[in-house]
């Protein structure tokens, strides 16, 4: 096991957002954390990344495992060029770092853009640059927080393919937070469904399907239906009785 989470919980003030979440991720696995917005899936990821330390429970990541993080927004440093952003996480000799960063920029398809500043990039290019920045440090575990949710459908598909290419090439362990069921099913070996108030782990779905997968395949469709059923069954987003009540008063 590369990463283990035991009885993870998190309170914001009085409000318990997350409760008793247990899971583990094996080396080289792609695991998605799926859930509606506000269910605490990003909270899990931030705890894993060490960006949040006020959680309950236990997280164990072997100390030799380097962790990389890709945010929902690119979060490039606006005063640095693409190349300088890509070398941001590296220490030591500048020339060597730049040569290394160039290789990863080429991998994400930004070879020609190294001298540009973030303001000159499109959304997709900026997110590619952010991916290169994370990859340059050669992470063993890559954490992604809804990394493609702000992109258009086509760019999103391109970057999903890129992520799979990276996974094939480096065998990186990937944990991806998403609210997109199709994305979770297309990319992952396992889908963890977070649900409830406070959220608990409602489902640990193994997506036993070889790659390359077909986005429209019947098997994925079936799983999607299962997940939707699960979401509709338990997640009552609106209290409809309240609506009628207000209606009657008016």
């Amino acid at each position: 096991m590369t990463l283990q989470v035991k009885a993870l919980g998190r309170c914001f003030g009085e409000k318990q957002v997350l409760q008793q979440v247990d899971f583990s991720v094996g080396k080289g696995e792609i695991v998605s954390l799926l859930g509606t917005s506000g269910c605490g899936k990003s909270t899990v990821l931030r705890a894993l990344a060490g960006l949040d330390s006020d959680y309950e429970g236990n997280i164990s990541i072997p100390s030799d495992q380097r962790v990389g993080f890709i945010f929902q927004e690119p979060r490039l440093l606006p005063w640095k060029t693409v190349l300088a952003n890509a070398t941001f996480g590296l220490k030591g000799d500048r020339k060597e770092n730049e040569a290394k960063a160039r290789r990863y920029l080429e991998l994400v398809g930004l070879k020609e853009a190294e001298k540009l500043y973030p303001r000159e990039l499109s959304g997709g290019m900026a997110q590619r640059a952010a991916i290169a920045r994370a990859l340059v440090t050669e992470p063993d575990i890559l954490l992604l927080d809804e990394p493609f949710s702000a992109l258009d459908a086509f760019t999103k598909m391109q970057l999903q393919e890129l992520l799979l290419k990276i996974w094939e090439r480096f065998g990186t362990t990937i944990i991806l937070v998403t609210h997109d069921i199709d994305e979770a099913l297309y990319l992952s070996d396992r889908v963890l469904l977070l649900q409830g108030r406070p959220s608990t782990l409602a489902k640990d779905l193994k997506v036993a399907l070889n790659r390359p997968r077909s986005r429209g395949s019947a098997a994925l469709g079936k799983w999607k239906e299962d997940i939707l059923e699960q979401l509709e069954g338990k997640e009552q987003t609106y209290d409809y009785s309240l609506v009628t009540e207000i209606g009657q008063k008016a």
């Binding site: 990344a49 960006l51 993080f69 945010f71 927004e73 979060r75 440093l77 606006p78 005063w79 640095k80 941001f88 996480g89 500043y117 973030p118 303001r119 440090t137």
Partner: protein
């Protein structure tokens, strides 16, 4: 012709000053405006040339610029040190900021008598007064700038193992640079104001001294020449800072960055 006037960067803006100058010259020469109150532009220009030829103008200008420069540097360094500390550490803010804010509410010219009493009318009191004037806008802008740094960028830094000094150096300072440069420019503006005050309060040289000299010798041409030079130098130094600002902030994604 009209189109050229409308689109040219300086033409339209210089129209009014030229007309006013011409009117002023004509009215002065015709004797409508008494020369002992407002001499003609040509007279003022010849005053400047006279001072320039005997070398005293250069000395006055140099000394004024020197005082401003030293005060500006001292005020800025103090503001950087305190501003960074207060902006970065909440503890430092609670410790220093109330006192600094209290001092800020003292109109800086009110320090003049005290500084003269403490340090005499020599260079020290002048430079100190200028430094005090420069300190506050720079300090406030640094604190604001550091406070305003995007939390998301700080998280990026932490994700790559930065903290303490490294985080300040690699994320916080560059991210607050725009605000710092704005502070420098308004600090410089105040610096010019205070150099006048400092030189009026007693000096034997400098542009501010020329103002007093003109007043005491009934020479309005000297006063206006000195005012003109203050405006020219103020504009020039601000232009230098503006150039630095433009150069170092070319990465900014704003309407002005073109």
């Amino acid at each position: 012709m009209w189109k050229k006037l409308r689109t040219h960067p300086v033409l339209l803006g210089s129209l009014l000053p030229i007309v006013l100058l011409a009117a002023w010259e004509i009215l002065s020469r015709a004797g409508v405006i008494p020369a002992y109150q407002l001499p003609a532009p040509s007279v003022i220009l010849s005053t400047i040339i006279t001072y320039f030829k005997d070398g005293s103008l250069q000395e006055h200008v140099l000394l004024t610029v020197y005082r401003l420069f030293v005060g500006f540097i001292i005020g800025t360094i103090a503001a950087i040190l305190l501003g960074t500390l207060v902006g970065y550490s909440e503890l430092a803010e609670r410790f220093f900021d109330p006192l600094i804010q209290a001092f800020r509410s003292i109109p800086s010219l009110a320090w003049v008598p005290l500084f003269i009493l403490w340090m005499g009318i020599g260079e020290t009191s002048k430079v100190t007064l200028i430094a005090v004037g420069v300190f506050f806008p720079v300090y406030l802008n640094i604190v604001d700038g550091i406070r305003g740094v995007d939390r998301k960028l700080i998280e990026v830094g932490r994700m790559y193992g930065l903290d303490g000094v490294a985080l300040v150096r690699r994320i916080i300072l560059p991210a607050s640079l725009p605000s710092f440069l704005t502070g420098l420019r308004s600090g410089l503006g105040l610096g010019w104001m205070f150099v006048v005050a400092a030189e009026i309060m007693g000096a034997s040289q400098g542009l501010g001294y020329l103002l007093i000299l003109g007043q005491n010798t009934y020479a309005p041409d000297v006063i206006i020449a000195s005012i003109f030079l203050f405006a020219l130098l103020g504009k020039l130094t601000d232009w230098v800072l503006k150039l630095i600002q433009k150069r170092s902030l070319h990465w900014q994604d704003t309407a002005l960055a073109k």
